[in-house]
Amino acid sequence: MDEYDSLTEAVFLVLPQKPAISTKAKGGLTKADHFKLDGFQRLKDVNESWEATELRHELFNKEWDLISSRIESIMSNMNTVVLSAIYEFVESAYTPRTTRAVMPIQELPTGLIFAGINVPDHDQLFRQIAQMLSSPFSPSSQPTTTSSSGTNGFAEDSDGNNNLVVILQSKDCVNLKSTLKSMIEQFLGLGIAGVINPQEGAIKLQNYDMHVLERWYQSLCDTQEHQQRTRKPPSLVVIIQDFESFDQDTLQDFITICSNYQDRIPLVFLMGLATSIDALHQGLPKSALSLLQTRKFQMQQSSECLTAIIDDLFVQANVGLMVGPLPLKQLIDQFMHYNFSVGGFVANLKYVVMHHFYANPLSILCDRSLSSNSPALELLGRGHFDHLRMLPSFQKYVESKVENDPQVAEMLLLDEEFLTLHILELVQNIREYHSNFALIFDFLWFLQSRFSVSVLKKSRRALYFMALEGALTESSTITFLLSQVRKLNSNDMMLFIEDWVQFFQASSRCQSKKHAGELNDMDRELVAIQSIRDRMTQLLEVVSEDSATSSSEIEDNDDEDGVRDRVRTIAFEEGKAGAQTAEVVRNASTTSTGMAQLSQTAALASTITTTTSRLNSTATFVKKRKLVSLKANDTEGRQTRIAQKTRETARLPKGALGTYTLLVSEIDELLARLFKTYLVCHDQIPLNEIFYYSQVTIQQKAFLPQPRASIQTALGQPELYLNCDCCHPPAGSGASMSLAEMVLPTQHDTCILYKLYVECGRLINMFDWFTAFGMILERGMDEDSNKDENDNDSGHSRKRAKTKGKKDPVNGSHKKKVGLDQKEVQARFITAVAELQLMGFIKPTNRKTDHVQRLTWGNI
């Protein structure tokens, strides 16, 4: 039985020691390329060239570098505030504080860092903290922002590090000795120059003795004093990374010891808490707690980090590769449902990126800097074009072209050079779409934060997800927001439009253009909005003027000078109007202060407008708008009802109301059109498949493994894995039984045993099991011999041996024998039982002799 391939045998993975040698041995450049390209292979179906493979590999590296660097910067940005607070805390821990109360007992300064429940991610975070603390600069970009002057002194002091940081992890700290040892060794290992031998003196100190640390610290301070001028001695920072996992008694003793040494060694603790402060209170007794002077630091919630990452990568489209709705849902679900692990998310995302560039031949086009002279276009081969033409979005595009421009459609399908040029255009289009999408999405967000009540608010992530699915444009969110805009009164509407214009102007999309010729969609939209705004302003002016003087002078200049003039005249007229209104109001025996004030402000505004040297049109409008609203407020606030009534009638002249309604509906239409055009689902855009990764199963397989299900499938339906043709149901049974329910002698021993096992109860009689197993083997024997006799086909067993490979050589080899050796059956039975036990299906029991206990129930 030595040839039998048992699962119980250990399997060793022998890595090639030197890839160079293996390359030489195997010969050929392909092997070297294989390593160089991280296993990227030529895609045979498109018959691509090596250059294309290399390009895909290169693009993958470029893309992933971009993504990971962006994620890293986001993550560090998210926590900057907290990190600088921690820095400050550590720095000020041992500086004398004059303002604070003098404490009777020196407490150990302890920072409690609430870092979220995903412990594996903490490694990186705490490394970051340690690095930050031991560097001489505060994490905040300007070192002078720190408040106290005392801490500023050394921030500029660039040489040497301030704090010595060690990280203690629970796995190194099983008891007090090992904890102390680990801490001391790490401190000593930081290798500060000029450290004297701490073990001097008569008694050799143990390596967990705090005296070692104390002497080392003294010598450290001495040497530092020599080297440097007046300077705060460094603090020793001990980071207890995973507080919850520590043995609480050990920690308690550790804290007590450290607090006793506090007057000699300035120790600062930082404790990483994954849950809440309760863990600290439950874990440590009062006596230990009273030695700590705690300070809480809340790290950014990891779900917010995720939102920020998705926002930056995909919504803002800062990277080339996008993730389609299904994979994104998978990514997010994995995060939200299981682990809150940003690290896991990043790994998952990397897999996605890798798979996209690995398997998709068109990914050579997935390049942000794709231009007419980039090599990718030249590498396109026949297979690429075929692939391209098979893309659903491309087909749709061609179909739309057939109606408008049949010649182009034909060219697209037949002429490859034309297609190549067209690809460029389409890729450009997608890029355009992304940037437009980002802006309008931001605008939608802006709109929502402005109008929505908290209940109806959707998170950015949810909104983006809807957009990916294509449900956003029809969603209730947008309808609701539009209705909110319609309900605005005239003043708020004006304010809203101003903000709107500013929002667009502030966006990089509209700013970046250098030449007037390079107008993009957003600029056109901006113009549309501005024209609405102008008309709105005019209308409001008319209304306000009408309300005062019933005069209507409308100037319709769009150039800036005209605007300035108009402002001046309007201001002037409003001054007049104010005076006149004041008279009217006085006649109506009401207080005139409001109007007097109004005229003053109007005059003031006019002087301001004239003195402003560079008259930005927006600024003017803002002022004017203020003026208008001020006027409205003042008058409405101070007038009596009669005066108000007279004003109301005067306020809305004939026609103005109608114009206003028209304008509002125009705004409404514009908004709806904006959302509909630019938030359109990505699958409407031709060639989106190049940029959007949309497969989900492979990712699921890799990141949501189901070991038990796989094992059970392997045992229950081995044909699915082995892909053999020997395991077909006997002719008589037909389709009434599925293959999974049948026990076939051709199957692997363990599978046979497993199928018998499934039919057993809690306790399995070994002998019965063995007998049943033997019967099945015998049945197979009979069939085989029958077949052999009938067909006289000896190739059958050979074929089976081939298809099953080494998996079942015994099965194959003994087939020719007529009788079944009982010893062999027993041996095979025992092996199979051992395998089942290894996989955790049975375990030995003492309850009944010759029985084993069944451990699994149900089929997953």
Binding site: T99, R100, A101, V102, M103, P104, I105, E107, P109, T110, F114, G116, I117, N118, V119, D242, E244, S245, A274, T275, S276, I277, D278, A279, H281, G283, K286, L289, S290, L292, Q293, T294, R295, K296, Q298, Q301, S303, Q334, F335, M336, H337, Y338, N339, F340, L704, P705, Q706, P707, R708, A709, G840, K843, I860
Partner: protein
């Protein structure tokens, strides 16, 4: 620390002898060691005199009734019956008596006989706390404050260091209005009212170390001046109260903010499932969680009662209630079965399949000490756990996932 420079008038007559037979009541209700033989009655004017007398008496050799001679090294006793009355007399008297041996340098033992507990005697720990007097502060004011703190906190706190801690943190707040000139130094009532809000807060938060000394001093010193300066012009008394109130709110919110943490969606259910597994008896699992049983698998109220009756104890208040006994251990498989059962009901739109992540999350819950692993780490088979989470937290979790936990809990209030 007895203040020897300020002699107190002890107009009580004291008598000193070393026999132990009886005691007599003397003037001012003080009972002192009485004599059987008619030793001359002497009167001590003050403590010093008393101490002197003690020395003198001890130094005399005397012959007791049994005829044995007692040398100066022999222990002499002062027994005071109904010693609680001593508290009414001069404040230094008890300390003197307590440390009589130290003061006289003789071997004297003082025995107090009383019906009340000892704590009531030690009215003032002030003497020790006096050493903590911050520099440049008024001693009287400080001592008054120390008394106040002691009165307030003595019930809860027997630890001298804790009291020192509290005094150090609260005193700056106490003197602040004085320093700002709003309240006169001797206006004890106003000061008391001013500090009272902080006392309440301190008992809740500071003493329990929910917030640390540093956070406390940061906040109280930062917030209080701002809020009081906002209302310049009001009267002192009114001003101090809202100032305290705002700081109180700030403290509360600061603590609350940090006291919550979020768990992934399925992890919440794992925790809920383990809570159910820990507190529900396994025999009822079928009724609660099996999908095939009638009434959707839920135990009706009546069924619950009958189940209880069958097993012979009351619905509530039974000694055997798991709620009172604490969490029970459960095999991890049982918990997972409950987990999939409740998850099936909760998550309707998608099929939740067993995968590695569920087990990873169980491990991470163990490492977070929300689950407690009972079996040793090297035993991989049949792991058993306990749920280490309070009902309140589970309730909050269930609420956040919109899961009706009470429907599944047996015999729980």
């Amino acid at each position: 620390m007895i203040d020897d420079d300020s002699p107190r008038q002890l107009d009580s007559s004291t008598s000193k002898r070393r026999s132990t037979t009886s005691a007599e009541t003397e003037s001012r209700k003080r009972k002192r060691r009485a004599t059987i033989d008619d030793a001359p009655w002497d009167k001590c004017e003050n403590v010093n005199e008393f101490v002197e007398w003690c020395r003198k008496l001890c130094d005399q050799d005397s012959t007791a009734d049994d005829g044995r001679t007692r040398g100066p090294q022999e222990t002499r006793y002062i027994v005071l019956d109904r010693a609680e009355r001593l508290r009414d007399s001069a404040p230094t008297l008890i300390p003197v008596l307590m440390r009589l041996q130290e003061l006289t340098g003789r071997n004297i033992c003082v025995i107090l006989i009383t019906t009340i507990v000892w704590e009531k005697f030690r009215s003032k720990t002030g003497a020790i706390l006096e050493r903590d007097l911050p520099e440049g502060e008024d001693r009287d004011l400080y001592m008054r404050f120390v008394d106040l703190v002691y009165d307030v906190f003595q019930r809860n706190c027997k630890d001298l260091n804790e009291i020192r801690h509290l005094v150090a943190l609260l005193f700056p707040l106490y003197v602040k209005p004085v320093k700002e000139g709003k309240i006169q130094k001797h206006d004890a009532l106003k000061l008391h009212r001013h500090i009272q809000a902080y006392f309440v807060e301190a008992t809740d938060k500071l003493y329990l170390r929910e917030i640390s000394s540093r956070e406390w001093s940061d906040r109280t010193l930062a917030i209080a001046p701002g809020s009081s300066s906002n209302r310049a012009g009001d009267s002192n008394l009114i001003r101090s109260a809202p100032g305290a109130a705002t700081s109180e709110r700030a403290l509360m919110s600061a603590v609350e903010v940090h006291n919550t943490f979020d768990l992934p969606y399925f992890t919440k259910f794992i925790l809920i499932a383990s809570f159910l597994a820990s507190y529900n008896p396994p025999r009822l699992d079928m009724r609660y969680f099996a999908k095939v049983s009638n009434q959707g698998g839920k135990l009706s109220r009546r069924a619950k009662v009958s189940a209880v009756k069958k097993h012979g104890f009351d619905q509530l208040g039974s000694k055997l209630r798991q709620q009172l006994l604490g969490p029970k251990t459960f095999p991890i498989e049982r918990m997972l079965a409950i987990f999939y059962s409740i998850l099936d009901e909760q998550v309707l739109d998608e099929q939740v399949e067993e995968n590695v992540n569920v087990h990873t999350q169980v491990a991470s819950l163990v490492s977070l000490r929300l689950l407690q692993r009972v079996t040793p780490m090297d035993k991989l088979d049949s792991i058993k756990c306990k749920c280490n989470v309070s009902y309140d937290m589970i309730k909050a979790l269930a609420k956040s996932t919109k899961f009706d936990i009470d429907k599944y809990l047996y015999d729980f209030t």
